[in-house]
């Protein structure tokens, strides 16, 4: 079920995966609420985050910085992070800046939720 999170950001839970809809926030400071919603979902036990960019027209430097914060939070929680419905321009930007090294980018939300990285446990790196 889709809900409005504590930060007025739309999100929904599918098992232990949270889908967060980035909306048009990621080109201004109000995008911090997306980061806070992601952190809230992680704190409530989510093991994977899908950020859906279907309504996002532009990701500027503020948006990139906010997504860096989400990447950090997800890595610290050991959660998986997937970006879905990313348009070509934004996907290229993520590739160029190196964000794509830290996330999986899928065509749409359905593919994100079906992704083995979501459905299967993540291998935990151990020291040799």
């Amino acid at each position: 079920m889709e809900t409005i999170g504590s930060e007025s950001v739309r999100s929904r839970r599918v098992g232990d995966t949270a889908v967060i809809y980035a909306g048009d926030y990621l080109n201004k400071l109000s995008g911090e609420r997306v980061e806070r919603e992601c952190k809230r979902q992680l704190e409530s036990g989510c093991r994977a985050l899908v950020i859906n960019f279907r309504d996002t027209e532009l990701v500027n430097s503020i948006g990139v910085s906010i997504l860096m914060g989400v990447i950090d939070a997800a890595e610290q929680s050991g959660a998986r992070l997937i970006f879905s419905d990313v348009d070509n321009h934004t996907a290229n930007l993520f590739e160029m800046l190196g964000l794509a090294r830290h996330v999986t980018i899928t065509k749409d939300e359905e593919e994100a939720l079906a992704s083995p990285r979501v459905t299967e446990p993540r291998a935990v790196a151990t020291g040799s």
């Binding site: 201004k28 911090e32 910085s65 906010i66 090294r101």
Partner: protein
């Protein structure tokens, strides 16, 4: 699109957005936070901080940060000599300097940063003064910073430095303005106290009219407010009322305190006081410029038969017309050595008879309106009734007369018939 072109466009957009944030954002903390995000996002830098330098306390205050520390600490010491060295580097520093300073800073603040790595330290410098620093950790693509990256960071940092500096200037201007306002308020308070002291001095000289100046000030205030004057103008006319008789200070005491009506010689002596008052008051730089004129003309009459200058109608300043009515009202409603106060109804009958010749119709009308509103209870304050209650019973009995006068004055009957004489 070529990756290099896209990178360039992304950087230009960050610079443009930063300029807009600094120019448009009225909230300084928000502006700093947005600037911080733009800086990190321009090169996808994973961690960093923007800190303001407080020269007096020798501290850096972290205004925005990500992934730097979890200690919750937001203030870091920065020695003056270190601050001076950073200021000398400026924000056009070399790549080597930026990395060396980062290392040095990390070494000084081991507890704060823990295992976090800071790769660049960029000072925010305006006019050779350190106003803050930018600390930057690694990039998301895993590559080391290069000279080109440093150029971008320094450009953005210069914008942020200008934003911080402008904010500080604005704060300083606001602080000075507040300081000036307090000084001005203090001076105004001294001025008012001095005016009160003068009013008391004037009234002490005339033992029969004790409190006259203060009452004229209060009546003038009530009339002016009823006439729609603004607060500053009302304050001015109140003071004019307090000081209107200041010229009496030069009139012989025996004349002022004469127990009988003035003879011709005494009248002549007494009639010097408005012009003398003007001479005294004109030497003072009042916050309300017309005060000396209100003192000079408070014995002028609409028909031109007043003194000292025999002004007519609109030649008389509006303030002086108000003080004239207030002065006459107090004179008629207080006992004099040669006569008792008039019954209140007779006072208004006198006003009615002399409107348009001695008194300005609009002032009499405003006075009647203010009084009637008190009597009818539509006015919150009962200032006139309180002032009169010491000398009069059943003040409200004049209500019907006031209503008729207002109606006649509004219709122009009184002024027209009076000026027809």
């Amino acid at each position: 699109m070529e990756p290099n072109t896209q990178r360039l466009l992304h950087t230009f957009a960050a610079l443009a957005d930063l300029g807009q944030e600094i120019a448009d954002n009225a909230d300084f903390e928000e502006m700093l936070r947005a600037s911080f995000h733009l800086l990190l996002g321009s090169l996808a830098i994973r961690r960093g901080a923007v800190a303001e330098y407080d020269r007096e306390r020798g501290q850096l205050r972290i205004a925005a940060m990500r992934g730097i520390t979890e200690s919750g600490q937001t203030e870091l010491p920065l020695a003056h000599d270190h601050a001076r060295r950073l200021a000398s580097l400026g924000s056009a520093l070399s790549f080597d300097d930026a990395t060396k300073e980062a290392e040095r800073f990390l070494g000084d603040q081991k507890e704060f940063f823990g295992s976090v790595e800071i790769e660049l330290l960029v000072p925010l410098v305006i006019r050779e003064r350190l106003i803050g620093v930018v600390l930057l950790g690694e990039k998301a693509n895993g590559e080391k910073f290069n000279e080109g990256d440093l150029e971008i960071v320094c450009s953005l940092a210069r914008h942020i430095a200008v934003g911080v500096h402008s904010h500080r200037l604005l704060e300083e201007v606001e602080r000075k303005a507040e300081e000036n306002r307090r000084l001005y308020d203090g001076l105004r308070a001294i001025y008012k106290e001095t005016v009160h002291a003068f009013a008391a001095a004037i009234d002490i000289k005339d033992r029969y009219t004790n409190g006259h100046s203060v009452r004229v000030g209060k009546y003038s205030e009530i009339i002016a407010r009823e006439m729609g004057w603004n607060d500053e103008e009302v304050e001015g006319i109140t003071i004019a009322g307090y000081l209107h008789d200041i010229g009496k200070l030069i009139v012989d005491l025996s004349v002022i305190n004469s127990p009988e009506r003035f003879n011709a010689k005494e009248s002549k002596e007494m009639s010097r006081h408005p012009a003398a008052g003007y001479e005294i008051l004109a030497r003072i730089n009042h916050p309300y410029a017309e005060i000396p004129l209100m003192a000079r003309y408070h014995h002028e009459r609409i028909d031109g038969n007043g003194y000292p200058d025999g002004l007519k109608g609109d030649q008389i300043p509006p303030g002086a017309k108000i003080v004239t009515v207030a002065d006459s009202f107090d004179a008629m409603t207080t006992d004099r050595p040669y006569r008792k106060r008039l019954p209140l109804e007779d006072v208004f009958v006198d006003f009615r008879a002399n409107t348009g010749t001695q008194f300005a119709p609009e002032v009499i009308c405003a006075f009647c309106r203010a009084f009637l509103r008190e009597i009818e209870g539509t006015s919150k304050e009962k200032r006139l009734m309180k002032l009169l209650s010491r000398n009069y019973d059943n003040v409200e009995d004049v209500g019907p007369l006031l209503s008729r006068m207002i109606s006649d004055l509004d219709g122009g009957t009184i002024a027209a018939s009076a000026s027809g004489h």
